[in-house]
């Protein structure tokens, strides 16, 4: 029997969050992290806040192109087409 792996501290867990979310942790590290989450509400909260921030950043893209900008670019395209761009 090998001895039990050292448990993960909260301080260590917060440094593994990105690799965890990216699916890049080793199997062992992932199990340790998930075990830690089973008993640590604060780390659960930390991870949840990270996910909330990421959902918020994904909402920064709601924006569309203005008709003026579109017109300017069409101009660029027409010049290019005419061989002058």
């Amino acid at each position: 029997m090998t001895s039990a792996p050292p448990h993960l501290t909260c301080q260590h867990l917060v440094e593994l969050v990105t690799e965890y979310l990216e699916g890049k942790l080793s199997h062992g590290d992932r199990s340790r992290l998930e075990q830690h989450l089973c008993f640590c509400d604060s780390c659960v909260k930390y991870l949840e806040q990270m996910r909330q921030v990421l959902r918020a950043t994904g909402r920064l893209t709601e924006e569309s192109i203005t008709p003026e900008a579109q017109e300017k670019l069409l101009d660029v395209f027409r010049k290019w087409k005419a061989g002058g761009a």
Binding site: T9, C10, Q11, H12, V14, E15, V17, T18, E19, E22, K24, C40, D41, S42, C43, K45, Y46, Q49, M50, Q52, V53, L54, A56, T57, G58, R59, L60, T61, E63, S64, I65, A69, Q70, K72, L73, L74, V76, F77, R78, W80, K81, A85
Partner: protein
Amino acid sequence: MELGSEAAGERAGATSALLEALRAGDESAFLHLVNRHQASMIRVATLYVGSRAAAEEVVQEAWVGVLKGLHLFEGRSSLKSWIFRILVNTAKARGIREARSVPLSSLASGDEDEAAVPAERFQEHGVWTGHWSQPPSEWSDDQVASAELVALAREGIEQLPPAQREVMTLRDVEGWEAHDVCELLEVSEANQRVLLHRARSKVRAYVEERLGKEVRP
């Protein structure tokens, strides 16, 4: 037949049809491309030049470059990567003129010791060493659902050092895959992940700090 390769084949087919239409001078094909990438291009250009107005100019210049180089595009990378490569090069050239550019070496170096959460928020002695002494603050459901969280995330990203801001903008705002970001910025997967980690950790900390200030009377 593998679904994945079929989808990829379809995409490649769509790209070559689009290229053919562009080369033939089809305006609607150009508008299609513009509408798909423009907003994203402006946000990426903003990473390199000072203002929104300058970014718009850079993007316009990049489109000229795209059109001029269209006959050189060989399809070795995706059309999107190719367009953004031109954009970044254009933006960097402009950024150098405005002395605001980021040397690539700064992408991976510096701040090696940065912690995601400051050490003083963890126990320093006893059996609970390394466990929270000041756990993450409570965020109310109202705060999480609000437009304010989105605004704070934006502010948090704006305050990041340039390399971290680039990576987080591309990954978490634009939704790019890690692989595409590495290709565009010419960094390794590991470097990309370190930059992303520092960036995300800081943005969460920024949001926490700002929301915390508001809860206290």
